[in-house]
């Protein structure tokens, strides 16, 4: 993962929503996560100000993580292209092939129907807890994750 600043569209201030604990997890792994949610504009989530849209962000963004439904992911992807994000990530069960094609044409990387928290854990060996097939084959000792 070479994305250090993540804009999370659909971030919820509610502690038991998936977006909240994905944000918390990514923060713990050293990512800066900027929450986007028009309904919560001006509030704070996990110490970060909430913005109404991607266009309002004050800094450059590497990855746009979309916690919205597949249809809504279309215009959000277009905004991500507009603000020169490097990648678009649609969460589990979110998939918009047309939007993905537009983003890839504009040079962005696209991931759909996946969760960055699960993928991060899968690749650094944290996820064994839940019996996940990580797909990792290696004879090298891994670093112990903190």
């Amino acid at each position: 993962m070479d994305s250090h600043v993540v804009a999370m569209v659909g971030a919820s201030p509610n502690w038991n929503r998936p977006s909240f604990f994905v944000m918390k997890y990514l923060q713990a792994k050293g990512f800066r996560v900027l929450p986007i949610n028009p309904a919560a504009e001006g509030q704070e989530i996990l110490g970060e100000n909430v913005f109404a849209s991607l266009e309002q962000l004050p800094c450059k963004v590497d990855l746009v993580d979309i916690f919205r439904n597949s249809e809504a992911a279309g215009p959000i992807t277009d905004q991500a292209i507009k603000i020169n994000a490097k990648a678009v990530w649609m969460q589990l069960t979110v998939r918009n092939d047309a939007a993905a094609a537009r983003a890839e044409k504009a040079g962005l990387k696209v991931v759909m129907n996946r969760c960055p928290k699960i993928e991060f854990a899968r690749l650094n060996g944290e996820i064994g807890w839940s019996g996940v097939n990580s797909g990792v084959i290696s004879s090298k000792r891994r670093k112990i994750s903190s």
Partner: protein, 429 residues
């Protein structure tokens, strides 16, 4: 890096899930003989209990040794994730627990391991689960049974124990999906070395790892493997995965974990509340066994073919039900689903029925008279008086366990020694 697609089955059997131990560098998987795991602080503990981060809490929910076996079997089956249980029976119960509510039903093949028939038709009644047993070769009957509004799954064995019946997995998967329910395949007898049900559309695979995966008759265990491909939200049938779970503050498993929903639910709710966790020592033995699964299955099948051919030409044998024999009804399905092999467990009929069968079993000196399969040792059994004893005569007949039936599980000994043992045992009949 995610790279298992690059590797062959034999490599996965040895390496999947078991990178060197991060703490010590130990190359063989350590046995984490511990019940519990310290928390870094109270916030980390709370996050763990809420399923908001990853880590070990308590070995009923997960254990690092057990997790290696889970990943190993998931990789061998080509699945997304897996849940280890204390036995194959526990795996069946836990898989159905996720899918079923009281008052629900499921459809199962009437040609199943006798222990499964008893569990499904008698014990599960106590949970309010109804099992409709049908002949899965009668597709109209399967379709009609799946049509029941309470139906939540279709269950069969890839290679049935002990009758040598092979299920037409691809066809059954199509019927199950038309009805909006998953196809569950018990792949114990074939093992992933011979059959990978997900490649033919199955959604969930069940194993008794006690059998070929462990392979040495020394460790009980079960496994549920999820393909990750079934869309649990396509209808209202699976509230455990698609409705808020009160015990986890309204978390919705399918929304939160997507194609891992069944795998995570199986640990976080199934193992948590039903409790049939696999012991780390048993996981270690199964991991070690799995490393040689492809080699062992090859020899198991070679020896079984030799014995089946010997029996077929024996004057005291009435019939042999082994799909590996030319002309067997299931031979074409063996070609399609089991790489042309038929495993090493099969049945034959002794002339002289019940009495002759008992005499043969008791006269064996090398074959062990016991109720297990998939051991390095060759095993022999009279199902009608043992494993299938709880069944009605009709059920036993349907399951291929009538009065004259002998079941063998052919081991890895020298084939000529096995033939010689049977030869001397037949003299007692």
């Amino acid at each position: 890096m995610s790279n298992d697609g690059l590797y062959g089955f034999e490599t996965l059997a040895i390496h999947a899930g078991s990178t060197p131990d991060p703490a010590t560098g130990a190359r063989s998987t350590p046995i984490y003989q511990t019940t519990s795991y310290v928390f870094d602080d109270t916030d980390a503990a709370a996050s763990l209990f809420n399923l908001q981060t990853y880590g070990y809490i308590y070995s009923r929910l997960g254990n690092p040794t057990v997790a290696v076996l889970e990943e190993r079997v998931a990789a061998l089956e080509g699945g997304r994730g897996a849940i280890a249980t204390s036995s194959g029976h526990a795996a069946q119960q836990l898989a159905l627990f996720t899918l079923m509510e009281p008052g629900d039903s499921f459809v199962a093949s009437n040609k199943l391991y006798g222990g499964s028939v008893t569990q499904f038709t008698r014990t599960f009644k106590k949970f309010g689960w109804e099992c409709d047993m049908v002949d899965t070769e009668d597709l109209a009957k399967v379709r009609a049974a799946l049509d029941k509004p309470t139906c939540k799954a279709l269950f069969c064995e890839s290679l049935a124990n002990p009758g040598g019946v092979i299920s037409d997995i691809e066809t059954l998967a199509g019927l199950a999906h038309d009805a909006g329910v998953p196809l569950i395949v018990d792949n114990t007898m074939a093992s992933p070395a011979l059959c990978r049900p997900f490649e033919f559309g199955a959604d969930i695979v069940i194993h008794s790892t006690t059998k070929f995966i462990s392979g040495h008759g020394n460790a009980m265990g079960g496994m549920i493997v999820d393909s990750g491909k079934f869309n649990w939200a396509q209808n209202e049938k699976f509230p455990s995965l698609t409705k808020p779970e009160a015990a986890y503050h309204g978390l919705v498993f399918f929304e939160t974990f997507g194609d891992l929903a069944l795998t995570v639910h199986g640990h976080a709710v199934g193992l948590r509340d039903l409790g049939p966790a696999m012991a780390p020592m048993n996981a270690f033995l199964a991991i070690t066994g799995a490393e040689t699964l492809p080699l062992r299955m090859q020899r198991h099948c070679e020896n079984a073919e030799t014995i089946a051919n010997y029996l077929q030409n024996h004057p005291k044998v009435a019939w042999v039900s082994y799909a590996g024999l030319e002309g067997n009804k299931y031979h074409p399905l063996a070609e399609k689903y089991l790489s042309g092999k038929a495993g090493s467990v099969f049945t034959f009929g002794v002339k002289g029925g019940y009495e002759a069968g008992m005499k043969l079993v008791e006269a064996c000196e090398l074959f062990s008279h016991l109720a297990n399969i998939g051991d390095t040792r060759s095993l022999i059994l009279h199902p009608a008086s043992t494993t299938h004893r709880q069944l009605t005569a009709e059920q036993a007949e349907a399951a291929g366990a009538g009065a004259d039936v002998i079941r063998v599980s052919i081991g890895l000994e020298t084939a000529a020694d096995l033939v010689r043992d049977l030869e001397q045992a037949f003299e007692a009949v």
